[in-house]
C-alpha cells in the first residue's frame, strides 16, 4: 500500500516516511499542499494520505476539502497531522473531509494502528464498489451471453438515435434471428442451444467495431446498433455479420452445427422523428421479410411502407421490404 506524506518540514517528513517504510508501506513524500493534491489526482494515486495541517501553497485542510469536492472515483483516506490539538481544530479538520487526525510528534504505535483503521475502511469501500459494479453489470447484461440485455440495448439505442439526430448522421439498427433455433434445441438439447447462443454472440461482438453495440433482444433475437453507417455500408456490414455466423460451423459437444441468421435492417436516416419502438418495429418487419425470403439473408426496411405503430400487423407489407 502506497501512502502520501505531505509535510513541509524536512525532519517531520523524513521521520514519517521512514516510520512508514519500516512498517512495510511504500511512501511518496511532497513538501506542500499543491504537490499533495497533484499526487492524489494522478492515476494510481496513494489511497491513504498523511497531510500536515500547516503547509505552504495549500494547507492540509484545503487539500481535504478539495479532494472531497472533486469526488475522485477511488476513496482516499485522509489523515491530518498537526500539533494543533484544540477541539475546534479537530472539528474543523474533520468537517473539511479528513477521516482522522493525529498529533505531532506521532507515536509510532498509534500511527500504525490508525493506518490499519484506514486500510480496513478502504477494504470495505473496495468491497462495496465491487458489489455495486457487479450489480450494475448484472442489471444491464444478459447472463448467458454477457451481451447487453434488452433494457440496456434499447436505452443505448435511444441515446444513439438522439446523437445521430443532433449530428445529422445515420445509425443502422439490425434485428437478427438465429434460423431454425427451435429445431437446434429440439434435436441437440438446450445445452447445445446455449452453446450456439454464446458462440453467435461472440462472433457478433468480434465482427463489430468497439463502439458498435450488440444486445440480446429476446430468446434467439439480437439487436445490433452500428454508428455512422450510410445505407450502402450498413448493408455490407450486415452481410459481414451474416457471414460471420454462417461462414463456419458452430461446435457444440461432438457436433458441428451449420447455423445461419436472418437480419432485418432499418436506417435511422429513413425514419427521422420516429421513436425507438417504431424503428425497432421497422427492423423487425424487415427481419420478417428476410425469414419469408428463405432465411440466411439481409432485408432492409422500406420507409415507404411504414406500418403505423398502433395499426394492425401487415406481414404482406413486410414482404415488400427491399431485397438486399
Amino acid at each position: 500500500m502506497k501512502i502520501l506524506v505531505a509535510e513541509d518540514d524536512a525532519i517531520s517528513r523524513t521521520l514519517l516516511s521512514r516510520t512508514l517504510l519500516r512498517a512495510g508501506y511504500e511512501t511518496i513524500a511532497v513538501e506542500n499542499g499543491q504537490e499533495a493534491l497533484a499526487e492524489l489526482m494522478k492515476e494510481g494515486a496513494p489511497r491513504i494520505a498523511l497531510l500536515d495541517w500547516v503547509m505552504p501553497l495549500k494547507d492540509g485542510v484545503e487539500v481535504c476539502r478539495e479532494i472531497r469536492r472533486r469526488n475522485v472515483s477511488n476513496y482516499t483516506y485522509l489523515i491530518l497531522v498537526s500539533s494543533r490539538e484544540s477541539t475546534e481544530d479537530i472539528v474543523a479538520g474533520l468537517e473539511a473531509g479528513a477521516d482522522d487526525y493525529i498529533t505531532k510528534p506521532c507515536n509510532t504505535d498509534e500511527l500504525k494502528a490508525r493506518l490499519r483503521t484506514g486500510l480496513r475502511i478502504l477494504q470495505l469501500e473496495d468491497r462495496l464498489v465491487e458489489a455495486r459494479e457487479s450489480m450494475r453489470f448484472k442489471a444491464t447484461h444478459d447472463v448467458l451471453t454477457t451481451l447487453w440485455n434488452r433494457g440496456a440495448i434499447l436505452e443505448l439505442l435511444s441515446m444513439e438515435l438522439g446523437r445521430s439526430r443532433r449530428e445529422a448522421s445515420c445509425t443502422a439498427v439490425m434485428m437478427c434471428d438465429i434460423d431454425h433455433f427451435k429445431s437446434i434445441n429440439d434435436r441437440f438439447g438446450h445445452a447445445a442451444g446455449d452453446d450456439v447462443l454464446r458462440d453467435v454472440s461472440k462472433r457478433f461482438q468480434n465482427a463489430v467495431r468497439t463502439y458498435d453495440m450488440v444486445g440480446r433482444y429476446g430468446g434467439e433475437e439480437f439487436l445490433i446498433i452500428l454508428n455512422g453507417c450510410d445505407s450502402q455500408s450498413a448493408v455490407s456490414r450486415a452481410q459481414d455479420l451474416r457471414q460471420a455466423i454462417g461462414g463456419k460451423p458452430i461446435t457444440t459437444g461432438s457436433e458441428a452445427l451449420q447455423v445461419t441468421v436472418s437480419l432485418g435492417l432499418a436506417l435511422s436516416s429513413d425514419y427521422r422523428g420516429c421513436s425507438v419502438e417504431e424503428i425497432v418495429h421497422e427492423a423487425d418487419t424487415a427481419l420478417y421479410a428476410a425469414k419469408e425470403s428463405g432465411r440466411n439473408c439481409v432485408r432492409t426496411a422500406n420507409p415507404a411502407l411504414r406500418i403505423k405503430k398502433d395499426g394492425p400487423s401487415h406481414p404482406e407489407a413486410a414482404l415488400l421490404a427491399a431485397e438486399t
Binding site: 524536512a10 517531520s12 521521520l15 500547516v54 505531532k104
Partner: protein, 134 residues
Amino acid sequence: MSAEKIASPIPAEKPESSGKSAWDVKELMIRLEGDHELLRELLQMFRTDAETNMRLAADSLMRSDLETAGRAAHTLKGMLKNLAMNGPAEIAAALENAARDKNIQEVAAQMPLLEKALDELRPKIESQLTEVHV
C-alpha cells in the same frame, strides 16, 4: 526492543527547571525505533533547518512581520517536538502563540530565550553526532 536497551549508549538529559527535559534522547530513540543512522540524518538536517528558521523568525521580528515569525516558530516547534527537544519546543510554542496573538512584546521576549535554548543544544547535538556510530 526495550526502551532502556535502545537508549543505553546515550545518556538522557537531566530535566531543566521548567520540568521538561531540554532534550529527551531516550524518548527520541524510542520514536526512531533504535535507528542510529536515522538519528544522525535528522540531526544533520536539524543543524541547518533550525538555524534557517531561527534567522527567519528574528529577521521577521525586526520587520514587525509577526505572521512570518509565527510560521517560522511553528516550523521550529514541529522539528523540536519531533526530536524530543521538549524544553526548547515549549519556548517555540510560546513564541508562535505570541505571534498569533500579535503580541510583539511577548514575541520579542521569547525570541532570545529560544535562541539561547538552541545555542545550548548545539554542543549536545555535535556530541551526539560524533558519538553515534553507524
